[in-house]
């Protein structure tokens, strides 16, 4: 996690560095632990849902960039207040398609 964060900090331009804000750092750590404890099939099932989570992350980041650049909103307010939106859409997709 820190490695991806450090890479993002040193790179320019910031649109390129931003790629590392969506690096699979949490996924790698979680999948490593899941594979060790519950096996590969269980972990593979998790990654199927991760596709839906990633689509919602795209929506989240696109909306956040619009609010930051066009509405001049604070980063902390935007990124934290959009988290419930990520949760609602993700769980909505899970409820409708993946359950």
């Amino acid at each position: 996690m820190c490695a991806f964060a450090a890479i993002g900090d040193v790179l320019k331009p910031k649109s390129f560095a931003g790629l590392f804000g969506a690096a699979p750092s949490v996924a790698l750590a979680t999948l490593y632990l899941t594979i060790s404890s519950k096996g590969k099939i269980y972990a593979a099932t998790e990654t199927r849902s991760m596709i839906a989570g990633a689509i919602v992350f795209f929506v989240y980041a696109t909306f956040a960039s619009w609010l930051l650049m066009k509405r001049n909103a604070s980063s902390l307010v935007v990124t934290v207040s959009l988290m419930p939106v990520w949760l609602v859409i993700s769980f909505g997709l899970w409820f409708l398609l993946l359950r």
């Binding site: 820190c2 320019k12 331009p13 910031k14 390129f16 969506a22 996924a27 099932t45 769980f91």
Partner: protein
């Protein structure tokens, strides 16, 4: 647009900035495990693509840009937010590649070595991210050039 690496940013970085991202990322790992135990792997898996590090990165970036401008006597709030917005554009492109990462692991993990699948999927995540970023940069460059020609 040329890429550059500024190692002095690491020297200027405070350890709390990394600790914050590490703690938040770790908390999401735990949360994903707890939700998977309670509601099944399909629900827990959503959290593998939770925007865990991005909020801290964007906020730190805004503050850093603000401080830089204030050092030379300027008001840097707007500049800081615009830079954080550009960072978010990058995160949105990385998120598309994150979906590709997930699809690769989903399809290959059951029948192949876990280490190789995770390593390969991470390399492909990076390659897809860079390809999307490069395509967008070229399209923006071409659009701006045509706009300038029309205005002349």
């Amino acid at each position: 647009m040329n890429l550059s690496v500024n190692f002095s940013a690491l020297r200027d970085a405070k350890w709390q900035q990394f600790a914050l991202r590490f703690l938040f990322g770790g908390a999401i790992c735990v949360l994903a495990g707890v939700i998977a135990d309670k509601y099944g792997p399909a629900a827990g898996g959503l959290f593998l693509a939770f925007p865990a590090i991005f909020p801290a990165s964007a906020t730190l970036l805004e503050n850093e840009q603000k401080e830089k401008k204030e050092k030379v006597g300027l008001h840097g709030t707007i500049r800081g937010r615009k830079v954080a917005g550009v960072d978010a554009v990058g995160a949105s492109m990385g998120a598309i590649a994150l979906g590709v990462f997930a699809a690769i692991v989903w399809k290959l993990l059951p029948n192949h070595s876990a280490g190789l699948v995770l390593l390969g999927a991470t390399i492909i995540w990076f390659a897809v991210s860079v390809a999307i970023w490069r395509t967008r940069s070229l399209m923006l460059h071409s659009f701006n050039r045509r706009k300038t020609q029309r205005e002349r």
